[in-house]
Symmetry: C2
Subunit: 209 residues, 2 copies
């Protein structure tokens, strides 16, 4: 098995932390997105969608999304469960991940990709160039600000998003709170539950990856 990774990017980090929390080890291959390596023919032969993460299985199958990589790993290595070990947990964690993606990474990426000078014409990932849209950068910033409030509500009073045990939802929310710094969005002081939960997450060895 091989894991195609790019250290600074949020999506492969979601899988990297997931692998670490499973206690398994998968050799990784670095793909330098900053230098456009993902748009070169060599990498497009691995993933025509031109994105990381990619998980290459031993039979050559390639999984090319965070969701795909994690669904495979969860099924192949069920313990500790990170996507739910019974129906209610599976439903609740899938729900949390969706809300965290929609309000978190999508909002932050909307702002970043539509404003960063280095991402001109790269308003969406993939092989097709799309022009930056100024109004979309502003909308993304507004949505990202709201993400912290949504997350504060989702966290509630338990140690983790799904209760007593870590799940992939905590990994995602942690990665996105860190990713928000790319657009200089910090957790507001009144979001105590986010601040406390973030401190606990930052102490985990997987958070250093």
């Amino acid at each position: 098995m091989r894991f195609y990774d790019f250290q600074p990017a949020p999506s492969p980090r979601r899988v990297r932390m997931f692998i670490a929390e499973k206690g398994i080890d998968i050799p990784s291959v670095a793909v330098d997105l900053r230098n456009g390596e993902h748009l070169q023919p060599e990498f497009l032969a691995v993933n025509p969608f031109a994105t990381v993460p990619v998980l290459e299985l031993d039979d050559g199958t390639r999984l090319t999304t965070t969701a795909g990589c994690r669904a495979y790993i969860e099924s192949a290595h069920p313990t500790p469960s990170l996507l739910g070990s019974n129906a209610a947990e599976c439903g609740r964690i899938a729900d949390l991940i969706w809300h965290i993606e929609f309000n978190g990474i999508m909002a932050i990426a909307e702002c970043l990709r539509n404003s960063a000078k280095g991402m001109r014409d790269r308003a969406l990932p993939g092989t097709v160039n799309y022009a930056q849209i100024t109004e979309l950068a502003e909308r993304g910033r507004s949505r990202a600000g709201r993400f912290f409030e949504v997350l504060d509500d989702l966290i509630g009073d338990d140690p983790f998003l799904n209760g007593e045990r870590l799940s992939a939802a905590d990994i995602d929310a942690f990665v996105f709170v860190e990713f928000a710094k790319w657009i200089k969005a910090e957790t507001p002081a009144n979001c105590d539950r986010v601040i406390n939960w973030h401190q606990r997450m930052a102490e985990r060895p997987s958070a250093d990856l």
Copy 2:
């Protein structure tokens, strides 16, 4: 259990077809999105995100996303499997769903929500109003056009997206090909694999739901 539904909308349809293909029956409650019922206090008490589908479990827990509803149902009613019955299938189907969402529903919604007169200030679902962005309507139309080509590649030469058996990925792609008609986007004549697969899907009883 109760299923909050709105017949014309694509997201609850993804769950409605999933329930039908499982061969189970869940009583449903209609929420009239066209008349803004989802933004009234009664429904916000059910789902503060103001969206359908919602699956209400017998203990009162509510799952408020397509992903959450389906992960619950798959785990509670594993046969026939629609999200994968082994690790490789789970990974592959999750991958397919992600690509179909990103290239399909997100593109179509980007066009529709940023151009429809009836959706002024409703460029995103939820309780917060966002203004329509003309450039985003155009980008969505361009992306939706490309969706058919992406889908044609994903379908390949097997009867279904994941091979010999139907999965949730087929349900999603079918719903989005139908949803594309809302923005008057039809499958291009050169996408033969989409056209043939769509005919097979349209013959299933679940397609009438």
